[in-house]
């Protein structure tokens, strides 16, 4: 049951490939609505489109969901971080973030991952500068951006299939606490 303000409107969305009609307050932002429907990977770090933690794909474009009215997304196709990989079968960008220790508190990471995926989609071989520019409106308070930038560059290499790391999923990392899922870097995502 939505916890919303304003008039309730029905919004048609395709979220991570699943068509659904959601109830939302007319004034609700998209992040609130997605979170109410269980897509908690969409984080709210500010109150309106400045920190980047709520980034999702809306019809293929990266948008900060908290800075967008849900009603404006009517009819669109949304992809959240949940659509990328699973814990046992990470997207190569996610895998690279894990392997490069680019994650500390992790609150900004879903938005960061979405932005990185978008970048590598349009620019599979970015320079460090281009990575930094792409992540410029993603606020991170833990990492100093050093390892996230390295992770995105690493992911780019993996996805281009240029490095042996891509094949064995992060050679420098010892056995993961969850076992050996990290072998096989991207569960097929490499081909994208």
């Amino acid at each position: 049951m939505p916890k919303t303000g304003g008039n309730v409107v029905d919004i048609e969305l395709t979220i991570n490939g699943e068509r659904t009609t959601v109830e939302a307050g007319s004034a609700d932002d998209l992040a609130t609505v997605l979170r109410q429907h269980g897509y908690i990977g969409v984080k709210c770090g500010c109150d309106g489109g400045t920190c980047g933690a709520s980034k999702v794909f809306v019809d293929g474009e990266v948008r900060m969901a908290c800075g967008m009215e849900a009603a404006d997304a009517d009819g669109s196709e949304i992809q959240t971080v949940a659509a990328l990989g699973t814990q046992a079968d990470l997207h190569p960008v996610q895998q690279a973030f894990v392997d490069n220790f680019a994650v500390q508190c992790g609150f900004c990471i879903p938005g960061m991952v979405i932005q990185a995926v978008a970048l590598l989609d349009s620019n599979p071989d970015p320079t460090e500068r281009e990575v930094r520019e792409a992540l410029d409106d993603n606020v991170c308070r833990c990492t100093g951006y050093q390892k996230p930038v390295e992770a995105v560059l690493d992911a780019a290499e993996r996805m281009r299939g240029e490095q042996s790391v891509a094949a064995d999923g992060g050679q420098s990392v010892s056995a993961s606490p969850r076992g050996a899922e990290s072998t096989g870097c991207c569960g097929g995502g490499c081909d994208e």
Partner: protein, 816 residues
């Protein structure tokens, strides 16, 4: 440390270096630590520690499945949402709160004011420190006497966020306005508006003088500083100023409070200190400690901002009033004006140095602006001296004093570095200036004085009493400097081709502590499952640093199993043993050692069972590779076999358990050498930092990947202190920053590349040789960058942030 002891020190506590006392101190602080053999492992003997083990929650984090406090929303169908009415005047008394419109609104469940029964009227401090807190009890949950723009006055719970916000907006507050003061120097004046009446505050702190808005005065001296200053020496004096920095946690302060069917008052909350929060809430609400449960889920960054119990009392009061779960998630705007920030300070540094470059005395004074309330005021100011000054433990005479003053400005509190950044700026900027004045190499000048292994650090004890003296048993400063120089290219710096561009390198050293000496406690329990896996329960708090993973590695190293065989459960006061919490860089050192002890306790039982099954004496056995094996016979038995035998065997059975608790008087310093490479445009004053290098000695890094992450993140925060305005205030003390857009948090493009270097030493008092790492790299960029600018264009910026305008105006001054 208790406040009484602190009082003694304030009354002119001095110490002297008498040779006769040295022997006694050596006994008290032996160089040779009675270290268990298994604590010191050569790198090739380490199976788990100092490996780059994957952070155990990373997969959840990158897939968005990790749950932070607000993500528990869906579990509570009848959840109500909180919002808070805050003072919009800097100083005054609330004369009336008109809540009728709010109460009449549909969907409003409760409106609380300072008068409401559900709102405690006890005084408290939000500090989140140990008991009794070294912070004054000067706060109320909701306030009639408001002291800054942001003081909470009333709170609302409603069916949804929008209604809660609308209800808050409908509440009309009338005030009697008082005079206010926002500048700390003005506030110190006897005629300044007074924030607290004498006697109004409980648990007062040493040196308080509320007539002059002083919440505390502290000081300590080693040797005779005045005599040294009067002697035949060069006396330098410099003054430095630091910004009001925001923690800017990406996850806002968020708490969810409810009472479950077992009558347990539960808080799921984004906190660094579950056990202190439990105790403070019990005090405030007059509920037995045993009836409160504080659970820390994933936390989106703390940095000290969540050491304070900033918001928890409000959702708890609302939950008690409405009899339903209540979620309070601060707004980003509130984060900037109503939560906590780093104390802005003015710090004076004075030294007496001989012609030859021997430092005879260091004298530091800090004036700290604690804002409207006093939490962490005294202790943060103490660290301005007690963290950086011990770097130069060979200096015979040292003095530190500080005044901590209230103003009608937002509240300050604990923040990563905890006074050390302010002190490090002053001292490391000052020494650089002295070296350059005397024509000495700034690095060599420091090398002559800095700490070494074997030193008895009496400066740390200068304020804490002799008990706080410490023996230095690990120190990698030299190597930090060397490797830092290499990495930054110190000796082959090339100047840019353009004449108006000048390149320079600045350096700064830093030391921190590892936990609060003599005021920490961590505990852990381990249970073995029959398949040879383990459950680890530990009070220690992972706020995103990877502490849980470090615990797993430490336990795995002892138990001889893979980290994946251990399930960690941490930071839940109903389940996990006690812990002081994640502050003062204590987690690896204190909680990690408790984990190690618990694991060793369990290992003793495991070896016992191994002995029974292998028929060999315990002394011949060791754990490793998921087995107990005999070095004598090469036989082995798996942990799984032992688990099944212990649980289901025919003879006696036992659930293999281990427990460990750790406290210590030790707090060994980790060290850092920071380098900044800057290019300054002398025509505009604009500058660009090409690179930051920071080399850190944190003992043995339990997980180098995570340690690097700590260093880089801290350096980023430190860089912000050097180049950003922080939270600026208007004349009334109103924060001019309401969102990230307006706050100068350096973005990915604005942040220079940061190279982190780990210099391994072995600290015998730490788990497997570890010291802390999280804070020390927060301290160093402001002085290093100030020094680099000085190196590049010869001007000195002492007031943070360093800006093009300031450089330009200094350059202009110089030309005139």
């Amino acid at each position: 440390m208790s406040n009484d002891e602190e009082t003694a020190k304030a009354d002119g506590g001095t110490a002297s270096r008498s040779e006769t006392a040295e022997d006694e101190r050596s006994e008290e602080h032996p160089l040779e630590w009675d270290e268990p053999e298994n604590n010191d492992k050569a790198p090739d003997e380490r199976d788990s520690v100092s490996h780059r083990t994957e952070k155990y929650d990373d997969r959840k984090l990158v897939t968005g499945q990790a749950k932070y406090t607000a993500d528990y929303e869906e579990r509570y169908p009848d959840l109500a949402y909180a919002a808070v009415v805050r003072s919009d005047i800097p100083h005054g008394r609330v004369t009336d709160i008109n809540t009728s419109a709010a109460e009449a609104m549909d969907g409003v469940d409760a409106v609380l004011t300072p008068e409401s029964d559900a709102v405690p009227d006890a005084k408290y401090t939000s500090a989140g420190q140990s008991y009794p807190e070294p912070s004054p009890w000067d706060m109320h949950v909701l306030n009639e006497h408001v002291r800054y723009i942001g003081d909470p006055i009333a709170a609302v719970a409603a069916e949804d966020r929008a209604t809660a916000t609308a209800a808050v907006e409908s509440i009309e507050v009338s005030y009697e306005k008082y005079d206010y003061v926002t500048d700390p120097e003005d506030a110190f004046d006897e005629d300044a508006p007074q924030l607290f009446e004498d006697g109004e505050v409980e648990n007062e702190i040493v040196g308080h003088d509320y007539d002059r808005n002083r919440m505390a005065h502290i000081g300590g001296e080693l040797g005779d500083v005045d005599a040294a200053l009067d002697g035949d020496t060069h006396v330098h004096e410099t003054e430095w100023e630091t910004i009001r920095q925001s923690h800017a946690n990406v996850e806002k302060h968020t708490s969810l409070a409810y009472t479950n069917e077992d009558d347990r008052h539960v808080l799921i909350t984004s906190t660094q200190v579950p056990n202190h929060t439990r105790r403070q809430l019990a005090h405030l609400f007059d509920i037995p400690i045993r009836d409160i449960r504080v659970q820390k889920p994933r936390v989106g960054g703390g940095f000290g901002g969540k050491q304070a119990m900033v918001i928890e009392p409000i959702p708890l009061a609302l939950s008690l009033a409405t009899d339903r779960p209540v979620l309070y998630e601060a707004s980003r705007e509130e984060e900037f004006y109503a939560m906590r920030s780093r104390h802005p300070m003015k710090v004076k540094a004075k030294t007496a140095v001989t012609e030859d470059g021997d430092i005879k005395a260091i004298d530091i004074y800090a004036l700290s602006n604690t804002g409207a309330y006093g939490s962490h005021g005294m202790t943060v100011a103490g660290n301005v001296g007690s963290k950086p000054m011990p770097l130069y433990s060979k200096v015979p005479n040292a003095r530190f004093e500080a005044d901590i003053v209230h103003t009608n400005t937002p509240q300050t509190g604990a923040m990563r570095g905890y006074g050390a950044p302010q002190g490090t700026l002053a001292l490391e900027g000052h020494l650089d200036e002295v070296a350059r004045d005397l024509g000495l190499d700034p690095i060599e000048f420091r090398r002559r004085h800095h700490m070494e292994v074997g030193d008895l650090d009496e400066i740390a004890g200068m304020m804490g009493g002799e008990g706080a003296n410490r023996r230095i048993r690990s120190c990698g400063l030299d190597e930090c400097i060397e490797r830092g120089k290499d990495a930054i290219g110190y000796d082959d710096l090339e100047q840019p081709d353009e004449d108006h561009l000048h390149r320079g390198i600045g350096m700064a050293l830093s030391a921190q502590g590892t936990g609060v000496a003599g005021d920490e406690l961590g505990a852990a329990q381990i249970m073995m499952n029959e398949d040879g896996s383990f459950h680890l329960q530990v009070g220690g708090v992972d706020i995103g640093t990877g502490a849980d993973t470090a615990f797993l590695q430490i336990a795995a190293e002892v138990l001889g199993c893979d980290e994946g065989e251990i399930i960690v459960k941490s930071s839940d006061t109903d389940v996990t043993p006690f812990d002081y919490g994640a502050y003062a860089s204590s987690t690896t050192y204190i909680s990690g050692m408790a984990v190690k002890k618990a694991a060793e306790d369990a290992k003793e039982r495991i070896l016992n069972w191994g002995s029974k099954l292998l028929g060999e004496p315990v002394g011949d056995l060791e754990t490793g590779d998921g087995t107990v094996y005999s070095e004598a016979s090469d036989d082995s038995v798996t942990l799984e076999d032992i688990g099944y035998e212990a649980a289901y065997g025919d003879d006696e059975r036992e659930h293999i358990l281990g427990k460990g608790t750790h406290c210590t008087e030790e707090s060994p310093p980790p060290f850092a050498a920071q380098f900044a490479d800057v290019t300054v445009d002398e025509t505009t004053g604009e500058f660009e930092v090409q690179k930051l290098v920071v080399a850190v000695d944190c003992g043995v890094a339990i997980n180098p990947g995570m340690a690097e992450g700590q260093i880089e993140g801290a350096n980023h925060m430190s860089y912000e202190m050097a180049v950003s305005d922080g939270i600026t205030l208007d004349d009334e003390g109103r924060a001019e920053v309401a969102d990230f857009d307006e706050y100068g948090l350096p973005s990915a493009t604005e942040t220079p590349p940061i190279e982190s270097i780990l210099v391994e030493t072995h600290e015998p008092t730490g788990p497997f040789g570890a010291k802390s790492v999280a804070e020390v790299p927060t301290n160093t960029v402001p002085p290093a960058l100030s020094n680099a600018v000085r190196d590049a264009v010869g001007v000195r910026i002492r007031e943070m942030p360093i800006t093009a305008e300031k450089i330009r105006s200094k350059l202009d001054e110089r030309e005139i």
